[in-house]
């Protein structure tokens, strides 16, 4: 049996969260993980630590304290200004060897997955990917990660009790972010980073980020499926009227009617809106996974037997092309 770099018996009862920098703060999933981590740490009497990597970013440690971190481990180095997976792996490894956490959580974002996948191998430990829930069994000091499998119909519980740190990447949007507490403080642990230029093996030569869309935070979600025949223009018009975002099932994405970043469901984004309006969607389980946490679900489909109606609060058996213009017209009239 392959042994991890340090044994569970050597590990500290600490839960680490990778803090992914985005804009002036953190990626939403990092805040969600701090909130969930706070809850798990409180129940088990563990320490919650944020791992902060970057260049000239010490001021962000306070944000992490306000969101619940007891400690922030700061790795500040000019070569960490951009995310390079080799450089970030090297620096993170340095901190993990020092802090020996029992659990290490990362957001299942592009960079979070890259880093997690490499580190798990370097640490010779288990990695559970794209988890939808976390349970901390405090008696055994074991993290139990929930993942959805087989198209969403089955939940599997995974653990790697014999290896440390126990690592999971967590899907954005599954945990609710707490509001920051401005009075909350914590301990800053500054680490001297030993990183040489030769360790950075990729260079970002250009970056284009447009209007980034974050469906996980949208209060109103307007989704279209095969039954709207690519008419996302109407969905956008409707979304603009209710301050919503447009999402889609996989077929319209595959057919190029809408960007893949708006695909909702098992292989796309899991949302938690107040209301999800679904037009021309039959309701395969791998799509339902993406909207099942909505407070209210409204579905419009021509087929009265469509599975989506089993998951909807309000069901309308009608052609989406008839309801859409009528609804847009009604909402416009109301506005006047």
């Amino acid at each position: 049996m392959v042994a991890s770099l340090y044994a569970p018996s050597e590990a500290n009862k600490a839960l680490w969260v990778f803090l992914e920098i985005e804009g002036d703060g953190f990626a939403s999933v990092s805040v969600e993980l701090l909130s969930k981590g706070r809850d798990l740490a409180d129940r088990a009497g563990w320490t919650l630590c944020g791992l902060l990597l970057g260049s000239d970013i010490s001021d962000r440690a306070n944000q992490a304290f306000q969101y619940g971190a007891d400690e922030v481990w700061l790795l500040d180095h000019p070569l960490l200004a951009q995310f390079d997976v080799c450089g970030y792996s090297h620096a993170t490894m340095q901190a993990i060897k020092e802090g020996k956490p029992s659990v290490f959580l990362l957001g299942a974002t592009a960079n979070g997955r890259d880093l997690a996948g490499r580190l798990a191998v370097r640490l010779r430990t288990g990695l559970n990917a794209d988890c939808t829930d976390l349970i901390l069994d405090e008696d055994r000091a074991v993290l139990i990660s929930e993942v959805t499998g087989f198209g969403g119909g089955v939940i599997a519980l995974l653990e790697s009790a014999e290896h440390c740190p126990q690592m999971s990447t967590v899907r954005p949007g599954v945990f609710i972010a707490n509001d920051p507490d401005p009075s909350r403080q914590g301990d800053l642990v500054e680490m001297k980073v030993n990183l040489k230029k030769a360790e950075i093996r990729s260079r970002i030569v250009a970056r284009h980020v447009g209007e980034g869309v974050d469906l996980t935070q949208a209060p109103v979600l307007i989704c279209g499926g095969r039954g709207i025949d690519g008419d996302f223009e109407s969905l956008r018009e409707l979304a603009a009227l209710v301050d919503g975002e447009v999402g889609a099932t996989r077929p319209p994405v595959d057919e190029g009617h809408i960007d893949r970043e708006r695909q909702v469901g098992q292989t796309g984004i899991v949302c938690r809106p107040k209301v999800a309006l679904n037009f021309g969607i039959s309701g395969a389980f791998h799509f339902i996974v993406g909207i099942q946490d909505a407070e209210t679900i409204i579905a419009i489909n021509t087929d009265p037997e469509a599975p989506i109606f089993n998951h909807a609060d309000y069901c309308i058996v009608e052609n989406a092309h008839k309801i859409l213009p009528a609804l847009i017209k009604t909402l416009k009239t109301e506005r006047e």
Binding site: D114, A129, D130, G152, R203, D254, Q292, I298, I323, K329
Partner: protein, 266 residues
């Protein structure tokens, strides 16, 4: 300058639309379910083939799995790959990502002198997306995931890669050798080349490697090399909904929806 040596990692998965879960055991029902090449791996192979259209290169398919993978993955030879290596042994079975990436990395080492390793973004059945970074770690190479376009400068030994990120894209340059995961649906995999068909499906010799053919440590492969344990399975809960049917003309229904939206959002 020598030709580019490329490995494309591919696997076979049950067809997603045919997946059924046994209500009792909560395990996949395997009987009667057809298999296909993991769709994202087709995008990975296509990216390698596009590169070969452009400059001298040799493409090897590498897979780990049971013998029935062989006839299915021969499609890759018909599309344009030159070689096919299948790591097949009961000892490899039950591997999680740690053991899978270790075993594949040992296979890549055995093929030797590789410039680029392409993988699909994730597998349709496991959907972890953790194999490409894990492979890169074992091989001690850089990695770029979610690539949509790629060019190679053989003289400078770098790859220039367009990578999808949240809300946009970035262009990265990486040193070769490198592991690249290819964004699903980022290209249109080509049809098989009918001239290659007789060779690909009949004459081509597939190299099958068992546990004794590669340099692997027993503790690192298969179930024994896998830290991750499935400790429970249950059916996903379905939240009870009102299931109230709204009836009437489209205009009447629209008014009903608007009324409820107002109630929810204010």
């Amino acid at each position: 300058m020598s030709d580019l040596e490329i490995v494309v990692c591919m696997k076979v998965v049950p067809k997603s639309e045919e997946i059924r879960v046994d209500k009792e055991s909560l395990l996949l029902e395997r009987t009667g379910v057809r298999s296909e090449i993991n769709p994202p791996d087709m995008n990975a192979l296509e990216m390698a083939l596009l590169l070969k259209d452009d400059q001298p290169a040799r493409i090897s398919i590498l897979s780990m799995g049971p013998p029935f993978f062989e006839p299915i993955l021969r499609v890759g030879l018909a599309m344009g790959a030159e070689r096919f290596f299948l790591m097949s042994d009961r000892e490899f079975a039950g591997a999680d990502t740690l053991a899978t990436t270790y075993t594949l990395a040992q296979g890549i080492e055995k093929i030797g002198d590789i410039d680029l390793i392409f993988c699909g973004e994730e597998s349709a059945d496991g959907a972890t997306g953790q194999v490409p970074p894990g492979l890169a770690e074992w091989l001690d190479t850089p990695q770029v995931t979610l690539a949509t376009e790629l060019t190679v400068d053989r003289k400078k030994r770098i790859a220039r890669v367009r990578r999808e990120i949240k809300g946009g894209h970035e262009i990265q340059e990486v040193d070769l050798p490198a592991v690249i995961s290819v964004k699903t649906a980022s290209n249109e995999p080509r049809f098989i080349d009918y001239h290659r068909k007789p060779w690909a499906f009949e004459e081509a010799k597939v190299v099958i490697w068992g546990h004794d053919d590669v340099d692997v440590e027993d503790g690192y492969i298969g179930l024994r090399g896998s830290p991750t344990v499935v400790s429970g399975l249950r059916e996903a809960e379905v939240r009870e909904r009102r299931k109230e049917f709204l009836r009437g003309s489209p205009e009447e229904v629209a008014k009903e929806i608007a009324k409820r939206l107002q109630g929810i959002l204010t």
